[in-house]
């Protein structure tokens, strides 16, 4: 009996040792990636929070801890108005980018879901802008939209319309940046939707046809619900990417005119490198990080109830 019990204990101990060896192996496998993330992602985030409590300007070697001074500036001081303005601009931009990506992408996908060389070539043309550097395309768009020498105003004049200061008016500057964005993202949305459409079993459509469903009904009641995981993926990735918009704004408008395109990341950049207030840039970054995290979590939570998986 005791031998038996001892044997069981020994087997359990061996199993435990085996499990811990396996866990150690697993850990060793992920350790390099984890170390990379700790050093280059999590440590900078922690540092950012710490810098927010100092008066460091990046250049000085010495700095003091100033408590919540920078946070007070952000919530109670002159920073508050600027924060709200930049968040309003950023959310507006994000709303439109998501709309263009999702609505434009799905419409184009429905339109280009054909198998022929011509359609394949057209799909490539639509997708290509995604792989042109933003700075390069932004410069080209600046010249297209230039109020004095741009081709857009030239065409408008041909039709008798008044030229507009596309990038130099606060009414049109953000929309002009969104034109570039739309040109870049709509093809990407189309490709993602197209690959998802190809994964939908044709049996659903055949069954619906037999039941007398027309093309619109098939799209509304089969395609759209089965594309919802793709829509969620596109929504979340586009949301995060567009909230962090910087390059197109930096090249095309520099946050202007009159801060009408001063998106949050551009504002953070200016605080750090133009105003030399990296302490303030740090608190804005921290808050923005929390906003992004909370918004993404909320989106995932709300969307998960409305996402339909084919299986």
């Amino acid at each position: 009996m005791s031998e038996n019990a001892a044997g069981k204990r020994g087997a359990r101990a061996r199993a435990a040792r085996y499990r811990s060896r396996e866990r150690a192996k697993d850990f060793l496998c992920v350790a390099p990636a984890l170390a990379f993330f700790l050093a280059f992602v999590y440590y900078p985030v922690v540092e950012l929070f710490r810098i927010g409590f100092t008066n460091w300007n990046l250049i000085k070697d010495k700095y003091d801890y100033v408590g919540f001074k920078n946070w007070k500036w952000l919530f109670q001081g002159s920073g508050c108005e600027k924060l709200l303005a930049s968040l309003r601009i950023t959310f507006t931009y994000t709303f439109w980018e998501i709309l263009i990506t999702l609505a434009g992408g799905i419409l184009l996908a429905a339109l280009f879901n054909r198998e022929s060389r011509a359609f394949s070539a057209m799909r490539s043309v639509l997708f290509m802008p995604r792989y042109i550097a933003i700075s390069t395309s932004a410069i080209v768009f600046m010249w297209i939209l230039n109020d004095q020498y741009g081709i857009l105003n030239y065409v408008l004049k041909l039709f008798g319309a008044a030229p507009l200061a596309w990038l130099n008016s606060e009414k049109t500057a953000l929309a002009s940046v969104l034109v570039l964005t739309g040109w870049r993202v709509v093809g990407y949305g189309m490709m993602i939707y197209l690959s998802a459409m190809k994964g939908i079993s044709p049996e659903y459509y055949e069954a619906a046809k037999i039941d007398g469903a027309g093309p619109f009904q098939r799209f509304r009641y089969i395609t759209l619900p089965l594309l919802s995981p793709t829509t969620l993926f596109l929504f979340v990735t586009t949301f995060i990417a567009s909230m962090k918009v910087f390059q197109s704004v930096d090249v095309m408008t520099g946050g202007g005119p009159y801060q009408s395109t001063n998106v949050t990341v551009f504002w953070i950049y200016e605080l750090a490198f133009v105003d030399f207030r990296v302490d303030r840039a740090a608190v804005v970054s921290c808050l923005f990080f929390v906003i992004l995290l909370a918004s993404t979590a909320a989106t995932m939570r709300i969307s998960s109830k409305n996402v339909h998986y084919e299986s």
Binding site: L58, I59, K60, Q148, G254, G256
Partner: protein, 427 residues
Amino acid sequence: MSSIRQAVAALALAALAAAGAGAQDAKKYEVKAPVKIQWWHALEAQYAPLVDKVVADFEKANPNIDVEAVYQGAYKDLNEKLIAAQAAGTTLPGLTVANTPLVAEYGASGLCEVLDPYIKATGFDVKDFGPGLTASTSYGGKQVSLPFLISTQIMFYNKDMADAEKIKLPETWAQMDEFMKKASKKAADGSAQRYATVIPGWDQWYFEPFYLNAGVSLVNKDMETTDLGGAKAVAVARKLKQWCDEKSAYWAYGKDASSVMRQNFIDGKTFSVIHTTSLYNMYADTCKFKVGMHYLPGDAKRDSEVGGSVLLIPAKNSQEVKNAAWKLLTYLTSKEVNMYWARGTGYMPTRESVTKTAEGQAFLKEKPAFKAVFDNIGHIYPRIQHPAYSAFAKIWMQEMAKVIIEGGDMEAAMKKAAVLLDEALQD
């Protein structure tokens, strides 16, 4: 007699001791072993042959020092990289250029090596730069950088047009109204056919002299307030708006405003533009007409400000690197090399031993338009040095552009701006 002899002997001894100490100090800054240093600059590809030649000549004269010249983009990009390197403390260049308005912030933050001991020990003639440029490159009474590619504000004008239409360029602010009328042309519907001038609103440096010459104190002595909300400043701002409203001038604003302004001048759509002297070569080479330079009109005084770039040594470098960088710095700012830059670019000769001598006259023969600058070289003053001036300038530019382009009451706008500007300075 013996007391006189004793005094002379003591003086001689003191002089010898001082000379000995000087020589010893100079030794401290010598490059004793081979060293490699980086020089960060913002000279675009068109200047690469100039940079390569200067570096090759230097290396030939200083075989111990290997220089790697690195183009780091525009001043803005270079500033970002320099700040990042300073924060990291590991990838700093031995020597770097910096845009003139950054001297104050860099100096205040201790980024730059204080050059006074080097100057003293090696007998470098810093006075030859003149008081304006020396002050521009100092901070808190210490020499933290040296003038490199220096420019100032200027009015470029179409000389052929001026001669043909007998347009008199304004010497004073009071003459500006007449000039605006004479040099601009309007269509029957009141739209502009040709502007008299273009005022760059994308950088306050270009319109700052109008305020300074009118006696406006941009940053008061307390360093915390501005007079930009005062009557003098409002009067200047109203005039600028009036000329833009009348379509005699336009306010160039936005990211592409500089290139559009240049194109308008090249195309003859404006009689003149206010820009930096550093672009003289570009205008002279591109325009199909003769390009003249006219010093900006004055009011209570007629001054302009220093622009361009300075050279500095990051203080965090090792002494060995700093010594090599000092050698390179003295070479790059020497009279010969300075003239080489001035000829190859549109930047100005910086040394009085050039501007006030026959060499200067020879330079004027090559570039006669620079007479406008040489005649006023004593009136080129340092930029305003305040660590918060970048933030200040951003607010000012934005408020000016908004009222001039979008419309509104200038006095109310300037008063509102003054509150924001005071806040920025006090911050």
